[in-house]
């Protein structure tokens, strides 16, 4: 049962298509698990439609309509290949928006060790950072703040920090003024999907020096 959700402002921007890529991915992964937030996204889409209706229409150029009408014939002829639904194993633990990139199982990924008890897997995203982080049981992340938005989705296990306890399916939607120091607090460790649209700000000197190596 999820208790921590993305902020309404984040869901609103998601529906408008205005989130940085990586952050939108984390939202999409949460939505695949959370009907509650999916409803909010639908409401936010409705607001977008109302705003769209208020725009003055801009006339299309003269030949545009004829062009498209002449293309319709061609597209009907081309048989649409029926896309077979890919088979998803019941125990797949990679969130659906990432499956065609990562496959089905988190344990099959090539995790890179960053520090004792801390492994990561970096994902491609345009203009923002997206990574999976694996925190061994009892491991404490360095205390840090943020210079931009950070969105974290717990995929396995749980962690606790100053804001509470976050379990699988929960999202931490952090404002930049928040300092936190997450600790993995279950025996299986914790795997999170984390998106940032600006570098993290570490408080200690050592983590600050290591930052370039971690690509955080």
């Amino acid at each position: 049962m999820t208790t921590h959700h993305p902020d309404l402002s984040t869901l609103m921007s998601y529906s408008a298509g205005s989130l940085p890529d990586a952050i939108a991915t984390v939202v999409a992964a949460h939505l695949s698990l959370c009907d509650h937030c999916s409803c909010h996204v639908q409401e936010a889409e409705q607001i977008g439609i109302s705003l769209l209706e208020q725009l003055e229409p801009t006339p299309m150029s003269a030949g545009a309509k004829d062009d498209i009408l002449s293309m319709l014939g061609e597209t009907t002829q081309a048989a649409e290949p029926a896309k077979p639904e890919p088979h998803v194993p019941d125990d797949a633990d990679v969130p659906s928006p990432l499956r065609h990139l990562l496959g089905h199982y988190l344990d099959d990924l090539h995790w890179k060790t960053m520090a004792p008890g801390l492994k990561q897997f970096i994902l491609p995203a345009a203009e923002s950072n997206l990574r999976l982080l694996k925190i061994a049981p009892g491991t404490c992340m360095p205390s840090h703040g943020h210079t931009g938005s950070e969105l974290t989705l717990v995929l396995r296990g749980s962690y606790s920090d100053e804001l509470g306890r976050f379990c699988a399916g929960d999202v931490a939607d952090l404002d930049p003024d928040i300092q936190h120091q997450p600790v993995a607090d279950t025996h299986e460790g914790c795997i999170c999907l984390i998106a940032t649209d600006a570098p993290l700000r570490f408080n200690g000197l050592v983590p600050r020096l290591l930052q370039p190596f971690f690509q955080l």
Partner: protein
């Protein structure tokens, strides 16, 4: 809203003959523009694949989508290209449109949004990111009937700054961080302003 639309209709929106003959039956043209009618047209298009029906939908949506994409920063030519791509995708995929699940404008808006995001990715980086942030199979909640007029009046009643935040999200496609830089506001205030605006808007949407 109706006055506003009619004014545009008379001056700017190009129409086909088919459209014109229909509008004679309904003097204020609203017959072709109500959400129910649009929904019916899109469902019919999926069933009968009639080019006249497509032309009707095109006349209504293309100029609006063009404005929408231009406000997000697409220049005229690119906006027009994306409108064509969107409408072509409507033609190709309209069989999968389910009128019980979403309004026609919602469905078409989603296609345009996704094509716009794909385009941005291609422009902004060499890396064609294979992330699938708006999966089609995603959960679609039971359709609620929203009263567009209520949302519009609720938008008007927002404090100016909150309205500006909402416009930046929807019209300009700005991220929270970009808005905070644009408006010289802390990121936390951008988020709380949007949160307040959303809460007000959805409260009014829900009122029957």
């Amino acid at each position: 809203m109706t006055d506003h639309d009619n004014r545009n209709g008379h001056t700017e929106t190009p129409r086909s003959d088919h459209f014109a003959s229909k509008s004679k039956m309904a003097p204020n043209n609203s017959i072709t523009k109500t959400p129910d009618k649009l929904k019916q047209s899109l469902a019919d298009l999926g069933r009968y694949r009639d080019k006249q029906t497509f032309a009707l939908l095109y006349d209504f949506f293309a100029p609006r989508l063009k404005s929408h994409l231009m406000s997000k920063g697409a220049h005229g030519e690119m906006a027009e290209e994306l409108v064509q791509e969107t409408m072509l995708s409507v033609w190709k995929n309209c069989k999968s449109y389910d009128p019980d699940k979403s309004a026609a404008s919602t469905w078409i808006f989603r296609i345009a949004r996704n094509l716009w995001i794909d385009r941005l990715r291609k422009e902004k980086s060499n890396l064609l990111s294979p992330l699938d942030n708006y999966p089609e199979s995603s959960f679609v909640p039971a359709m609620k009937e929203f009263d567009s007029a209520k949302i519009k009046s609720a938008l008007k009643s927002l404090p100016q700054q909150q309205a500006q935040l909402v416009y930046k999200v929807y019209y300009e496609g700005k991220s929270h961080r970009e808005i905070s830089e644009d408006m010289d506001m802390p990121l936390g205030s951008v988020k709380s302003g949007l949160r307040l605006a959303f809460t007000k808007l959805r409260n009014q949407m829900g009122e029957v």
